[in-house]
Symmetry: C2
Subunit: 571 residues, 2 copies
């Protein structure tokens, strides 16, 4: 067959997977590889300010470009380690990110040369050992003979297990040529087939439970609860079908938010254990059967482990197993199970739809003063969202506030509730905005805190360099409010430097005149409402930053309930 360089082989595979952008930072061990990237027609190199931000961007890109993957390229040691927290986050949250790192030549490695970026002690495997903790597969390109197979193997793992993989590219392998023949067979997820007899058994069991759960007198005995893995393992469509065919009310855990449209007429809102709004909580916890899809029961995703759903009433569908009450069925995966389940539960629809599901809407409260409170802010902002918006929530008051804010149909909610690394949201916004542009989605809107944005702020300059136009809301509440809720309310360690937020966009784009961007400070309700109602603002013709002044002890409902924080704003 035709010969192709190893980088072009890899890039062609990525192209086949729908990758249009690659993130990272150059370094002398990856420069020759980047020549191929820069010259590759369909993949654009996005140079980031630093590697952690690049990894976060690749993660955000993969979250929005949902059936594709994110890619980050770094240099040996210094670069890859700088990115590792972003990779670990993608592992934790099940986001498919390929981490490519340019490394010394196989000769230099074999001779343990005392190169720059090494640990100085000849250990050339230390970085890889660290990477092994946070990736599900690794490959070192060390020979022409195995290069294609290595690449195909880790990319298949990447799309199958939707968790990061790690690839090292030694400098002396970059220009080597290999056969392009395998490229004519596109990669696909490793097939997962449910054993038919076990699957039938499982379906029968579920059918029995359903029968016992719904009746003429208990028409809302069955509910669906959708969570993170429904999104990550690509069963949105199957879940939609299940909802529509059965008419069961559907709720989402925080990490499953927007897996089902929040405007869907039988969508009931967010379930977070004891933190759930009472009307919603009751509906779920009183159900006789909960069909839980792709659940991920982490502390913040479950109101600190306060689910009040008996195992006896639960069927859990996962990517690689099914749990019916107390019984686990390994290798019965939801991708194949769901369509069959939809069909066997069809008949429940007629009764189910007789019980209306109260629409998931939150009214903007009337408050007597002009201060911007969390209670008022989130519903107010909720009215600003439009279909297809990408809404990104940083860990902190933002993430808890947005949980309780209904989003329009086709919008995408992006947050990192399990891993919760602050600074992630800013980097992720870059990737999300790029993917959104590629896919023709709507506006990209970031909500972050004055503390969190400081970790990765420089990446906003990359957004401007690429002509992206997100809206960035920065909640200025004098520091780490979420931490004040948890511990150290008045401690100095929860204070931060105040920046001159409205100069940020001008500074990072070398735009002293401020023509390329708009920045605003809003200190009261009227100012914010006026801004949100301004069509010029809403149309995002420029990148925009809004500094929202809030009280340092104010917090959204869900955060107060989770942490037991209840301070008067006057303290």
């Amino acid at each position: 067959g035709e010969e192709i360089t190893i980088p072009n082989y890899l890039l062609t595979r990525l192209e086949q997977l729908g990758v249009k952008h690659m993130f990272g930072v150059p370094g002398d061990f990856n420069l020759r590889f980047l020549d191929y990237v820069e010259d590759f027609p369909t993949i654009e190199w996005v140079g980031n300010c630093n590697e952690l931000n690049a990894a976060y961007a690749a993660d955000g890109y993969a979250r929005v470009n949902e059936h594709s993957v994110g890619v980050v390229t770094t240099t040996f040691g210094v670069g890859e380690l700088s990115a590792i927290n972003g990779i670990a986050g993608a592992f934790s949250e099940m986001v498919p990110v390929l981490h490519i790192t340019g490394v010394p030549s196989t000769d230099q490695q074999a001779h343990k040369s005392l190169l720059h970026h090494t640990l100085g002690d000849g250990r050339f495997d230390a970085y890889r050992k660290a990477a092994e903790q946070f990736t599900i597969a690794q490959a070192d390109i060390t020979s022409k003979v195995t290069a294609a197979a290595q690449i195909d193997r880790i990319l298949t793992d990447l799309i199958t297990y939707v968790r990061p993989v790690y690839l090292t590219m030694p400098t002396n392998m970059v220009d080597q040529k290999i056969s392009s023949a395998p490229l004519s067979t596109p990669l696909s997820r490793r097939a997962q087939s449910n054993d038919p007899s076990v699957e039938k058994f499982v379906l029968d069991e579920i059918a029995k439970l359903a029968k016992a759960a719904q009746s003429e007198s208990e028409k809302d005995g069955i509910v669906i609860l959708v969570d993170a893995c429904a999104i990550r393992h690509h069963v949105r469509d199957e879940v939609k079908e299940l909802c529509e065919k059965t008419g069961f009310p559907v709720y989402a855990a925080p990490m499953g938010k927007t897996a089902v449209s929040e405007e869907y007429e039988r969508y009931g809102g967010i379930y977070i254990g004891s933190v759930t709004a009472p009307e919603i909580k009751e509906k779920i916890e009183n159900a006789k059967l909960i069909l839980s899809i792709g659940s991920l029961k982490s502390d913040f995703n479950t109101g600190n482990f306060t689910y009040s759903i008996p195992v006896n009433n639960t069927v859990e569908l996962h990517s690689e197993y099914t749990q019916v009450q107390y019984a686990t069925f390994p290798n019965i995966g939801m991708k194949n199970l769901l369509p069959k389940l939809s069909n066997i539960l069809l008949s429940y629809r007629s009764l189910a739809i007789q019980v209306p599901v109260p629409p998931y809407k939150i009214a903007v409260p009337t408050e007597s003063n002009e201060t911007i409170t969390h209670t008022w802010f989130w519903p107010r902002v909720g009215k600003f969202f439009k279909p297809k918006d990408i809404v990104i929530a940083e860990t902190g008051t933002s993430s808890f506030g947005l949980l309780d804010t209904p989003l329009p149909k086709e919008s995408v909610f992006v947050s990192q509730i399990l891993f919760g690394s602050i600074g992630w949201a800013t980097g992720s916004t870059l990737g999300a905005a790029i993917a959104g542009r590629d896919l023709g989605l709507g506006r990209t809107i970031l909500f972050t805190g004055d503390g969190s944005i400081q970790l990765t702020v420089q990446e906003i300059s990359t957004m401007m360099r690429l002509g992206l136009k997100p809206i960035i809301f920065v909640i200025n509440n004098e520091g780490y409010t979420i931490e004040r809720c948890i511990h150290g309310k008045n401690r100095k360690y929860n204070d931060i430097a105040n920046w001159h937020w409205t100069s940020l966009l001008k500074f990072f784009s070398d735009d002293p005149s401020g023509k390329l961007s708009n920045s605003y400070t809003v200190t009261n309700k009227a100012e914010l409402s006026k801004l949100l109602d301004d069509p010029a603002f809403a149309s995002t013709e420029k990148i925009q930053l809004v500094e929202v002044m809030m009280h340092k002890f104010d917090a959204p409902r869900a955060l107060k309930v989770t942490t037991g924080f209840n301070e008067s704003l006057e303290n």
Copy 2:
């Protein structure tokens, strides 16, 4: 004995080691620990913008506060992994940094709770396994009974091996009390004693070589070459004594720069193999005996492995072994050997000092045009330095330029030549400036590139919050010039966003009026000279930033020689 909480035990140990500042970022798993830090009278908490910067700051602090250690505290997972590249750098460059991380309670760990900041799969040892790659000792505080011994063990390793150590502090251990009795015995380096008979043998061997190397007709047959480990393993005083007692000319490798005063009358300059200035190169390579102290032969420290010093003519003194020609003597360490060596070589002085050592000075060249070139810039800046200045060099043109710039006596040169992680210098400057203030040193002066500063720029806001007043020179040469020299001269991946540099200090300190800082752009020689000659500028009453405009293809001599780059500035 009296009872004391575990954090106070640790903090008292750190106080005994001379620690006055701790760096880091809070997180819910370390907040209660930070209560003790904030309340501890002699150690000040420095909250950083992010964890990587905090680790870099701890590294810079340890480099300048030379007989103490740096400390960085992070939170579980997200925080510690964000810092890991800074810890790896400290490992590589032998800088003693204690990394404390607040982790979930021992119970939560045992139950593998699905907590935020975990990988979601119950692996509570993954972060520690990563840390093991980059620290020489680890301790988990899991019981009152062993806590003191664990702390003492890793701190002793820290000061003995001057490489990072890792300590996890579970939330449930923080308030526990232990005996303070061990605190009355201060920690010290593990004793290293040279076996007297082996040591005598080694000294005799060296004496023989010395005798053969120096003679009436070859008075400059013996030279001293000092390198990184002379600084890291604290033998500056012993080296000074050797130099003074023997009168041998002394040179430094890049990483040993300022180990011996560059104003010392028998100091001859920097040796970097084939990259060395010819006059200096010849002196060293023609010597019959080179007494090499604490050498670290990494690529950039040796002009890409181009030492031209026969092993036959070399004696290498290291912290834990000695090498005489081809023979290695394990466990003969330089700390004890050096004073004896000085005494046996006393008699060589009278001949040695008859050969003058040309002073290590570099004249400012006269150039016909006004462009700021590297050839002109570094000598010109050299005239600006004063004794006790702390000079920090970022990897890039800055680091190569400063190598060739003589520094005044008692100045401290800080750079990361082996690990070479860009962004390090900005974070390190924070720690260096704090240590400099604690120790009553002079100005802190950072030289960085427009590319490198982007990785960690936010930490400048911490400098301002603490009232530090470094001078920050940013070389604006439109991107990654050092990489253009290596590969991809005109590649887009070597371009970066241009920022509005002179707004940086105003933005990060919320100081739109610019009263707290001064910022300058210099575009030609006259402007720069005027600024450097301005006493107000030199006195650093405010924090200052100088944007220095340079050509994107210009590079210092040493960088051009190392990379073989030689482009006309007109291209």
